[in-house]
């Protein structure tokens, strides 16, 4: 009896998964505040585990503790969350990649690589709204339950196929596994689509320009396509695109859903809120050594911040670090532009000097190094640079 009910249960759940894929287009409304689930339930188990993760995250050295920036981002989250605001906690994490995550217990993580890439407040609101969509629709627990069902189905399917003992059984069993994995991933992509829709609704309600949600993906595509292989490798290897719908699809769907609705973009607010941390984020971005993506990103930042010597200098550094044919000239050109801008770091003159030295422009190199030492006489590498000046 028990066995039959169990197997039947599996089948129904699998059907429910399939049915879910077709529907879910109906209008969505904000659910009431989520209550902490019972400790003995599966959901309660995940919540508690996430609570412990959160405890660790709070003590992590990667956490960005800039109070003003945290207040700013949490403020946006609260505007979107409405009644759910007290249940959500946003953590900013210093990792130079485009990512944000939501845990079922209300812990949201936003990585610095994503913060650096947003052009305005509305774009960040789109991301936060999307993550909140996962939370409000309780996607992670649905995901775990479907994984449980699918692995159980796969387990019995594998046993049954194995029992056939034909020479092809192994291959069939493998195919069954792959089919289950594909089912699981497509389920995950449906969750992403639903979260996109919820996010769009939340940001529109909060008064943001909904079209900015599609610009997020437009910008990401621009970066990825800049690569020598048009971003091919990224699409092939990234887990993000096995579990998420393609960026181009998200861009188009979000743009059509946004229609002609207008709202606030909050460009100036976003620029100011990020000002204190931006130099650190820009430096982290350089360390990724992803020249093509970085160049597109820095050039986009410079359009919004035309007088930012820090970013202009970093663009020069990207060329200097790649060190390909003609990169020294491109770097020097970037440095010269940066000289006239605001907030240019003294290190610019050291970089200039090093390149000029490489190009055997000794007089120029000496002048650049001297300028560096003048601006930063106590630099940790001052002795080394002084030795260059003497030799030149």
């Amino acid at each position: 009896m028990r066995r039959r009910r169990f197997v039947l249960g599996c089948g129904c759940a699998a059907l429910a998964v399939l049915a879910h894929r077709g529907g879910a287009q109906e209008r969505w409304s904000v659910p009431p505040r989520l209550q902490r689930p019972d400790a003995a339930s599966d959901e309660g188990g995940w919540w508690s585990q996430m609570d412990r993760e959160e405890q660790r995250l709070r003590a992590s050295g990667f956490l960005i503790r800039d109070r003003a920036l945290n207040q700013y981002v949490s403020g946006i989250a609260c505007r979107l969350a409405g009644a759910h605001c007290p249940d959500l906690r946003v953590y900013l994490v210093r990792t130079p990649l485009f990512n944000a995550m939501m845990a079922p217990n209300g812990m949201m993580q936003i990585w610095s690589g994503l913060l650096l890439r947003m052009s305005n407040e509305a774009q960040l609101a789109a991301i936060i709204g999307h993550e909140m969509g996962h939370y409000l629709a309780r996607h992670s627990i649905e995901m775990i339950r479907s994984a449980k069902t699918l692995t159980a189905v796969g387990h019995y399917l594998g046993l049954a196929l194995g029992a056939v003992r034909s020479s092809n059984a192994g291959r069939i069993a493998n195919a069954a596994d792959i089919a289950l994995l594909a089912g699981f991933l497509s389920y995950s992509r449906d969750h992403e689509r639903e979260a996109d829709r919820i996010g769009l609704e939340l940001m529109t309600q909060a008064g943001y320009a909904p079209l900015e949600a599609s610009h997020v993906w437009e910008q990401l595509l621009e970066e990825l396509r800049a690569g020598p292989d048009g971003g091919e490798e990224f699409w092939r290897v990234s887990i993000l695109f096995a579990t998420h719908p393609p960026a181009s699809e998200r861009r188009e769907t979000l743009a059509s859903l946004a229609g002609s609705a207008t709202g606030r973009t909050g460009e100036a607010e976003y620029r100011d809120a990020l000002a204190a941390q931006r130099p650190a984020f820009v430096a982290d971005e350089l360390k990724r050594r992803k020249f093509f993506e970085t160049r597109v990103l820095f050039e986009r930042l410079l359009k919004a911040l035309p007088d930012d010597g820090e970013v202009q200098y970093a663009l020069g550094e990207a060329y200097r670090m790649r060190d390909g044919v003609g990169d020294a000239q491109s770097a020097l050109e970037a440095y010269r532009k940066a000289q006239a801008m605001r907030g240019t770091p003294p290190e610019l003159y050291r970089s200039m000097g090093l390149l000029e030295r490489q190009l055997a422009q000794h007089a120029e190199a000496r002048a650049s190094f001297a300028r560096y030492l003048e601006l930063k006489p106590n630099a940790h590498d001052a002795e080394l640079i002084r030795s260059y000046v003497k030799v030149e």
Binding site: M1, G45, A59, A152, L159
Partner: protein, 231 residues
């Protein structure tokens, strides 16, 4: 129904007993036991208990984890009281120095587990337990007032009825399915004056239960049998 689940459990237990248990224990040169009156800081134990679903997915169980944590703390206190050792329980309040030391300790014990004995043992250590967290450990000494610290890392899982069923169905198809319920526990004692790891023990087995107090006592006895107070 009851008969069936009992039969399932019996079958799974016999299978579990057939699995090899693994235990690795060692103490640093010169360390025999804690002196009476010693103060030991009990680091917040890193505990997670799971239920294994039919398809083999481990699912965290908050109620079991909470109960196990309680049992482990109480039983440790009880043991130490007998040995006249004072236990200072540290709260898991997200303190940064505590967290950093915990991570450092995790890295060091992973190295011990891999390189102390077996295939990847480091010849230069000559079989001695010779590992240290370094001067960093001193920060905890100042903070807690203890001279020693005990670290516990516990992962424990239990097969659900559905998983047991999968084991039996597997057997019908002449396929061996591991129930998946297992304990993976490690414990180590660190001298906070030097950072030296004085004693390290690892337990890997398909038996033991931390959800109830008395079976939990058995687990703790197995883990700490060779520990600081036994000689």
């Amino acid at each position: 129904m009851k008969g069936l689940s009992r039969a399932l459990c019996g079958f799974a237990i016999s299978l579990a007993l057939a699995l090899p248990a693994f235990a690795q224990g060692s103490r640093a040169e010169g360390f025999t036991r804690l002196p009476p009156g010693a103060k030991v800081a009990l680091m917040p134990p890193d505990v997670e208990l799971y239920a294994i679903s039919a398809g083999g997915i481990p699912e965290p169980r908050a109620d079991w984890t909470g109960a196990a944590l309680q049992h482990v703390k109480e039983l440790y206190r009880e043991r130490k009281a007998k040995a006249k050792v004072e236990v200072i329980e540290l709260a898991d309040d997200g303190d940064e120095t505590l967290e950093e030391l915990r991570r450092l300790h995790g890295a060091v014990t992973r190295a011990i587990a891999l390189h102390h004995s077996g295939q990847f043992a480091l010849p230069s250590k000559q079989g001695k337990l010779d590992w240290t967290l370094g001067a960093e450990a001193g920060t905890l000494r100042q903070k807690s007032g203890a001279d020693y610290a005990l670290f516990l890392h516990i992962r424990d899982s239990y097969a659900t009825a559905e998983r047991m069923l999968a084991v039996v169905v597997g057997a019908l198809f002449r396929t061996i399915v591991m129930p998946g319920g297992a304990q993976e526990i490690s414990a180590s004692l660190v001298d906070l004056r030097t950072g030296q790891v004085l004693w390290f023990h690892r337990l890997q087995r398909a038996s033991g239960d931390l959800r109830e107090r008395e079976p939990a006592r058995e687990t703790l006895d197995s883990l700490l049998y060779d520990a600081e107070e036994s000689q």
